[in-house]
């Protein structure tokens, strides 16, 4: 077993152990979950060195038979694209556990068991190199989130959970059909083998077939992202989910969709991707502006942050379909950034909710006076979210827009309007929540951050600054892998019109 296998299977082992912890023994369950997730996190850090030094191709490859016929293999590996997403997952899992420490009061051990199972599914999605295995993990991730929302959510939790589940399922069934079609054409589910067949010309898809396959994958991913107009499950899911569920959903689960776009849609169906790029870019920029405008008028904090996610993830899609190095690098970086800053936002909204038991913005006002530290942390997170330079989002947004400006300048102009609007809705939220005079009742129920809360949020604040100031820790590995993907996406596109990418060598 490689280190990666351990990182993948430890959470599964943890899940199996946790479901046998008796329900009344909640503390033991919490401690076990935290312990396991921390071990997984530290083990995942050991993955970094190998991947970054071994930039071309996959590290920690494990390729064993799972099902003999049809030939489905346990084929996993890690590259610059998946590495940071795996670490994002392993970082946010213990944080989510810590956030839920006090405020989950029924079926405690099951709650933490599902969180850990979710980690298993998510890591599996990011490291699978077999299409069927990928599909399996995709569905595995769905189940615990369904229960997290459905059991521990707010009032309309059942509605939201079912909507979340069915919507995602509807997309993934299409993807399954496409996967089976590909298998019939190639005789394998192996991702690297299929890409190789495409490269060598052994597998040639007709334009029509490629388009349909592309769309099947794309719709599954677009629902997950979520791309406008497939986004309406997201606000419902977020509003009803418990804090930890919102954090994992926004920070990691949505990235399954954007990851899929980069990993599968581009290299497997490059011609179709190029053909549809104009439409997709259009949807992305509409989503950026639309999500921001709708976020602007939300009376509910979680809905506001949810719509802001629609806007932020529009940037990711815009970057991916710019087919430029900067756009793709920025898109992948933005996946991580969004995970950090929106995860932190949901956490902080959760902190507010735990104190005041309301998600309505109008229930707040003047929080900065009784809870100055909470106000500062929220401010830093807000600033990260609106793309202030030297914090993480700026680097991603800049690269996305820089890349997009080379392939589609009008779209870039519209997307940049989203940057203005992000300041509007976030600062307005901040003003209405934290500024002004605090009412008597609010002051009484608004203690400042406690130790546990600090511990949960500090790593995210640290990452915001680190990723904003020194992106060189992360970007080289991402860039190397993206260069490969761009190469794979380009090769058979030359016949079509290649995007006019003018890249003058830098003087340095």
């Amino acid at each position: 077993m490689t280190l990666l296998d351990w990182v993948l299977f430890l959470p599964l082992i943890g899940f199996l152990l946790l479901i046998f912890v008796p329900g009344k023994n909640g503390n033991l369950a919490k401690q076990m979950a935290l312990g396991i997730s921390l071990v997984v996190f530290f083990m995942s850090l050991l993955l970094i060195g190998d991947v970054t030094s071994h930039a071309a191709g996959f590290s920690f490859v494990q390729n064993a038979e799972w099902i003999h016929y049809p030939p489905i293999r346990y084929h996993v590996g890690l590259d610059g694209l998946s590495l940071w997403l795996v670490i994002l997952t392993t970082l946010l899992t213990p944080i989510s556990i810590l956030v839920s420490w006090k405020h989950i009061d029924h079926r405690v051990s099951q709650f933490f068991a599902f969180l850990i199972l979710l980690e298993f599914g998510l890591i599996g999605v990011f490291i699978s190199l077999d299409l069927f295995l990928f599909y399996t993990f995709w569905e595995v991730g769905l189940v615990p989130m369904y229960f997290l929302i459905g059991i521990w959510g707010h009032d309309r939790r059942i509605y939201a959970a079912v909507k979340f589940f069915l919507y995602t399922m509807a997309g993934s069934v299409l993807m399954l059909a496409a996967i089976i079609y590909l298998y019939n054409q190639t005789g394998t589910f192996d991702y690297t083998a299929i890409v190789a067949q495409l490269q060598t010309g052994k597998l040639v898809l007709s334009a029509q077939a490629e388009l349909l396959l592309f769309l099947a994958f794309f719709i599954a991913f677009a629902i997950k992202v979520p791309l406008f107009p497939l986004h309406t499950w997201l606000p419902d899911a977020h509003v009803e989910a418990p804090t930890a569920g919102s954090i994992m959903l926004a920070s990691v689960m949505l990235k399954m969709g954007t990851y899929g776009l980069v990993r599968y849609c581009l290299p497997l169906f490059p011609n179709a991707a190029h053909r549809c790029a104009g439409w997709i870019t259009g949807l992305a920029v509409v989503g950026i502006v639309y999500g921001a405008l709708v976020a602007l008028v939300q009376p509910n904090m979680k809905k506001l942050v949810a719509y802001s996610s629609v806007s932020h993830l529009g940037f990711v899609v815009l970057g991916v379909f710019s087919f430029t190095q900067q756009g793709l690098d920025g898109a992948v970086y933005q996946m991580l950034n969004h995970g950090i800053s929106t995860g932190a936002l949901f956490m902080l909204v959760g902190y507010l909710y735990e104190r005041r038991h309301s998600l309505e913005i109008s229930a707040y006002g003047g929080v900065a006076t009784p809870a100055p530290n909470l106000a500062i942390v929220f401010l830093i997170t807000t600033l990260a979210s609106i793309g202030l330079p030297m914090l993480n989002n700026f680097v991603g947004e800049y690269l996305v827009l820089q890349g997009a400006s080379q392939s589609n300048f009008p779209a870039t102009v519209i997307a940049a309007i989203g940057v203005i609007l992000s300041a509007c809705y976030m600062l307005w939220l901040y003003q209405r929540t934290f500024y002004g005079k605090a009412s008597e009742s609010l002051s009484h129920h608004m203690p400042d951050l406690q130790m546990r809360e600090w511990v949960a949020v500090l790593p995210l604040l640290l990452m915001m600054v680190w990723m904003g100031v020194y992106s060189q820790s992360f970007l080289p590995a991402i860039g190397a892998q993206n260069a490969r993907i761009l190469e794979q996406t380009k090769t058979r596109v030359n016949a079509l019109q290649a995007a006019p990418v003018k890249e003058v060598a830098d003087a340095r």
Binding site: K163, Y167, P229, H231, T232, W233, Y290, L293, V294, L296, V297, Q298, T324, Q325, Q326, D329, G330, G366, A368, T369, L383, L388, P389, M390, V395, Y398, L399, L401, Q402, S405, Q406, F409, T412, A416, I417, V419, I420, A423, C424, L427, W428, Q431, Y435, G436, K437, V469, Y470, S471, Q472, L475, P476, G479, A483, K502, E503, V504, A505, D506, A507, R508
Partner: protein, 648 residues
């Protein structure tokens, strides 16, 4: 040369005061805040001396590379600091004036809550402002640009309990974001066309490019940069945030919203002069925007009664002059005015702060008057500043304003003439303010403890108030920590224009426009305009104070327009803000999102359920029914197959 120390020192001050300030005594907070800026100033002096900037040195930029910030494909953006003569001027202004204002603030803010927070923000501002002027590429300039905007937001909203303060803060940030929208698009285009964002390589490439070949996209870049500059430097159409920004404490108004940050747009255009010289049409637009703003803001300044508002519109107007300088190709004259303006406008604001302090928080000039008896030092220093801004030789403002106006005459005489009229109005309103505060008798209420507070809330103007009430009785002079900076600035306002010959210093970067013989008379015209303005103010507000009132009655309608700032805020609200918010709420959210898209999604779900409801009847559980379905199915299959040519 360790340029990084220059911004890092204030950053360290910010970190120390921000993290520990709550537990530190005021003296320690002061020492950290002022000390870090002083050290930074000294380090600037040392660096410039080493580079022999005051001798003949520093003809080209001195660049230091620290680390790679963003690297993607062929695009490489470093954290590089660079000093050339333009940066040298800005560094001296920012750290020098910044230090004086820090000292002043220790006195001014002495009785305020959140003392450490104030100084932490102020230090953070110094950090970003220094990054702005030191940055060696467009993106690093943008870092400082956004960073100072953040600090401006934090400091305008310093009194965040008051809604007008947080409103003003949001307005400042968001309006600036509109400008930044332009700036960032310009950055994308620059990186695309030059393959780099480094000033050195971009400007070197521009120089070799023929003007005709680049006209299209260079015009776009220049226009977008101009949009950025109009946001930060409060020009038409984005000036609206600056008057409201006076909600911040007065030292903030002096440092950020008069002397340094708002000149960032001027700096940025001067920095990009090579690009603008390749887009002559845009340069002309810069001049027109500048003169229009200068004139327009000056007219509003004529009518305001809040002393800080008068100076705020004056700042907008003076920034307009700087743009005229830039737009007429006299880049060094624009920077010259940045410097002299930093002297006299910082002094005006600090003096205003001293006046407000003396009157226990009052900002309405109608309730002042007669302060010459109480605040001698403030009066004399403010007099110097007022003469300087009026453009009377040999005070500082005369030199830079003359440089701009003579360049304007060369460029287009009408700009010169509008500039002269504006100069006259400028002289009038600053002396109007001066006479209203210092001449006549004191009109404020005396000796009722706490009146500062009462006045503050009962005021007819909802914006722009310092929470600076002490509630003492008679007006009184400010402590030495406040008047010593005033005195230093007064000296600079008096002789700084003559002593620091900026156009000459900047000659290696910007060619000095040649003196055209025969235009010597323009100097006398602009001096005469200033003197005339002072004279009218003297007549109106000292000799026969009835005149203004009767004029107001005679021109009631235009007066009301001007007094209400031409209703531009209201126009923006009803034309932009309300439609966006209202449309998003009632159309996008409620109709498109909730009923339209989500309605469709739930409709599909409902449809599937109803379909299932029909289909479930087939699952009757009766064998005979199933058998019937099987037979029916078989028939359909057979028929279909045989019609389509049989099974092969």
């Amino acid at each position: 040369m360790q340029l990084w120390l220059i911004p890092l020192l204030p950053l360290a001050g910010f970190a120390l005061n921000g993290l520990l300030g709550r537990r530190l005594p005021k003296m320690a907070v002061n020492a950290i805040a002022c000390g870090s800026v002083l050290l930074s100033f000294l380090w600037v002096l040392k660096t410039l001396a080493e580079l022999n900037a005051f001798g003949g040195g520093l003809q080209t930029a001195h660049v230091e590379h620290y680390f790679t910030w963003i690297q993607s494909g062929s695009l490489n953006i470093g954290v590089d600091f660079a000093v050339d003569r333009l940066t040298a001027v800005m560094l001296l202004i920012v750290t020098g004036i910044g230090f004086l204002i820090h000292i002043y603030a220790t006195g001014y803010m002495a009785h305020e809550g959140g003392y450490y927070r104030f100084f932490a923000y102020l230090n953070l501002f110094m950090f970003f402002m220094l990054v702005l002027v030191l940055g060696g590429n467009f993106l690093l300039l943008f870092v400082g640009w956004e960073g100072v905007g953040l600090c401006s937001y934090l400091l305008i909203g310093f009194y965040f309990l008051e809604k007008f303060a947080s409103d003003a803060a949001n307005k400042a940030f968001i309006v600036n974001r509109i400008g930044d929208f332009g700036f960032s698009l310009a950055v994308f285009l620059i990186a695309f066309h030059f393959g780099s964002l480094d000033f050195g390589s971009v400007f070197a490439k521009v120089k070799d490019m023929p003007v005709e070949a680049t006209a299209g996209w260079m015009t776009a870049i220049a226009l977008l940069l101009l949009l950025g500059a109009t946001g930060k430097s409060a020009q038409i159409p984005l000036y609206v945030w600056l008057p409201d920004a006076m909600a911040g404490p007065t030292p903030v108004s002096a440092l950020i919203h008069a002397a340094t940050m708002v000149t960032a747009g001027v700096y940025m255009i001067a920095r990009s002069s090579q690009l603008f010289l390749h887009a002559a049409g845009v340069l002309h637009i810069v001049a027109i925007v500048g003169i229009a703003t200068a004139f327009f803001a000056a007219t509003i300044g004529l009518t305001q009664f809040d002393i800080k508002k008068v100076y705020a519109y004056s700042t907008v107007s003076q920034l307009g002059y700087m743009f005229v300088g830039l737009g007429t190709g006299a880049f060094s004259a624009g920077i010259y005015h940045v410097m002299t303006h930093a002297f006299f406008k910082a002094l005006l604001f600090l003096g205003a702060g001293s006046v407000i302090h003396a009157c226990g928080g009052e900002q309405d000039m109608r309730k002042m008057g007669g302060l010459r008896k109480y605040t001698q030092i403030t009066m004399w220093t403010l007099l110097v500043a007022s003469i300087a801004i009026a453009g009377v030789p040999p005070f500082a403002g005369y030199y830079s304003k003359d440089a701009i106006l003579s360049a304007a005459y060369e460029h287009a005489p009408w700009i010169f003439w509008v500039g002269v009229v504006t100069a006259c109005m400028t002289a009038f309103y600053v002396f109007r303010a001066f006479f209203m505060t210092f001449a006549g008798e004191y009109k404020g209420a005396k000796a009722d403890a706490g009146h500062g507070h009462d006045k503050k809330h009962g005021h007819d103007d909802k914006h722009g108030h310092d929470n600076h009430g002490h509630g003492h009785g008679d007006p009184h002079e400010s402590p030495p920590s406040m008047w010593i900076p005033l005195a230093v600035l007064a000296v600079l306002s008096a002789v700084g224009g003559w002593y620091f010959n900026i156009p000459k210093f900047l000659e290696p970067m910007f060619k000095v426009p040649e003196e055209v013989p025969g235009n010597g008379w323009t100097v006398y015209v602009s001096i005469a305009a200033g003197v005339l303005g002072i004279a009218i103010a003297y007549v109106f507000y000292v000799l026969s104070p009835r005149i203004p009132d009767s004029l107001v009655q005679a021109f009631a309608v235009p007066y009301r327009w001007i007094y209400n700032k031409y209703y531009v805020d209201e126009l923006y609200d009803s034309a932009i803000v309300d439609p966006v918010v209202g449309g998003s709420r009632s159309l996008l959210w409620r109709v498109v999102d909730a009923s339209g898209i989500d309605g469709l999604v739930n409709g599909v779900g409902k449809f599937a359920r109803e379909l299932g409801g029909i289909a479930k009847r087939a699952q009757s559980g009766q064998i005979r029914n199933y058998a019937a379905w099987v037979v029916l199915g078989a028939i359909i299959v057979i028929v279909t197959v045989s019609f389509s040519g049989g099974a092969r």
